[in-house]
Symmetry: C2
């Protein structure tokens, strides 16, 4: 441990940190599917097997990525939460979740990555502890706090975990194909097509597509907050 710090050699000695940073850059640029041991090594000017001196295999690399994202959430949340000392639980949670969301928007691959981890990244326990603390301060029992955590689900991490993503998550825009197919079977879907028509006409308020996730995100959040407020007893 503690190799000589003098960077006298032309090649930076390659470390876990450098590998993870390169991995994040790669995945940000080309998506999760592009993250390959060989590819990552090439990105670092190194052979694939060299990575194994610093990372415990592919799964360990993904775990490292997950922890890195969570650390980023931690930082973002801490920055926001410190400015809300006196606020009520509702606003504190709201700002917290929106801060987490900002991180997720920077790393669109993060939801899929977190969902793919077989074990809970350890940093998350601390994150959830903070949420429970806020709920307790708001007067909730542990029971309701527990259920609230489940109700929030992925919203607490800043993403709606949409089962079918419109155009993101590394995939190309196959919205056209879907829309075309939808038009073909429109006759059988009266309510769906009516809804789409109504929503498109009413789109003079802040919506970005025909499904602006930000608006939906906050709407669901308020729905849950309202419900929890009444469930508090």
């Amino acid at each position: 441990m503690g190799a000589g710090l003098g960077a006298r050699k032309p090649r930076e000695p390659l470390s876990r940190e450098r590998a993870l940073a390169a991995a994040i850059a790669l995945v940000d640029a080309e998506g999760l599917a592009a993250l390959t041991m060989r590819r990552l090594a090439a990105e670092l000017g190194v052979e694939a097997m060299s990575l194994y001196h610093h990372l415990p295999g592919k799964q360990g690399l993904l775990d490292g990525l997950a922890e890195a994202v969570i650390a980023e959430i931690h930082a973002a949340v801490a920055a926001v939460d410190s400015t809300l000392e006196g606020a009520d639980w509702r606003n504190r949670l709201r700002q917290r979740f929106l801060a987490a969301r900002a991180v997720m928007l920077r790393h669109p691959w993060a939801p899929a990555l977190l969902g793919s981890r077989p074990t809970i990244p350890t940093g998350l326990y601390t994150y959830y502890d903070g949420i429970i603390a806020t709920l307790r301060d708001g007067g909730f029992s542990y029971r309701i706090a527990h259920r609230a955590l489940h109700a929030f689900g992925s919203l607490a991490l800043g993403f709606a975990q949409e089962v079918f993503r419109p155009a993101s998550a590394g995939g190309q825009t196959d919205v056209e194909a879907a829309e075309e197919e939808l038009a073909a079977m429109a006759a059988q879907l009266p309510h769906l097509t009516a809804m789409v028509a109504a929503e498109v006409h009413a789109a003079e308020d802040p919506t970005l597509g025909w499904c602006d996730s930000q608006v939906e995100f906050e709407f669901t959040l308020d729905l849950l907050f309202d419900g929890l407020d009444q469930a508090r007893d």
Copy 2:
């Protein structure tokens, strides 16, 4: 088309249906990761490349699985919904979602599969159309119906899409390791550990583990229903 139906040969001629049925059986038994073209072929007493005469590749196979699950949901939902002709929107949706959930519990791999499809399985449009119809009958505008769909998210398909699954989804029980690790850092997580302690003590009501998903599922559902009821205007 229309090959002779006389099953005179010792080997059933292999078809898309037979392949999909075998795939579902395989995945039910061993999880999504076990579903390999070679493995599926072996299960059918056939070579891998033979599958390509009936299925358009691996992605097509997964699409077929997704459609099969959705068809199963359709059947289950239709059976339940026909017995609720006069009921209000709330109960109709509730029973609908719970019926879908029953299908998901039979196929624990289905959430991950549906989440992995890059395009929306066509059968789902019909499913969502029925939900919108129920909401419209309940007096909701298309706008609120739209937002309700997003708020429900995966609940409409019967699963909570928990970001981190406790022990399911093909993985082994690493609850022990997680719990051990949690105990180690308990000192830093006062609220989390307190909650776990409180919830374990209060577990005389119908809970199956220290996180019975069924209870959480219905709790969240009611939370959303309550919120929507007020958002109806």
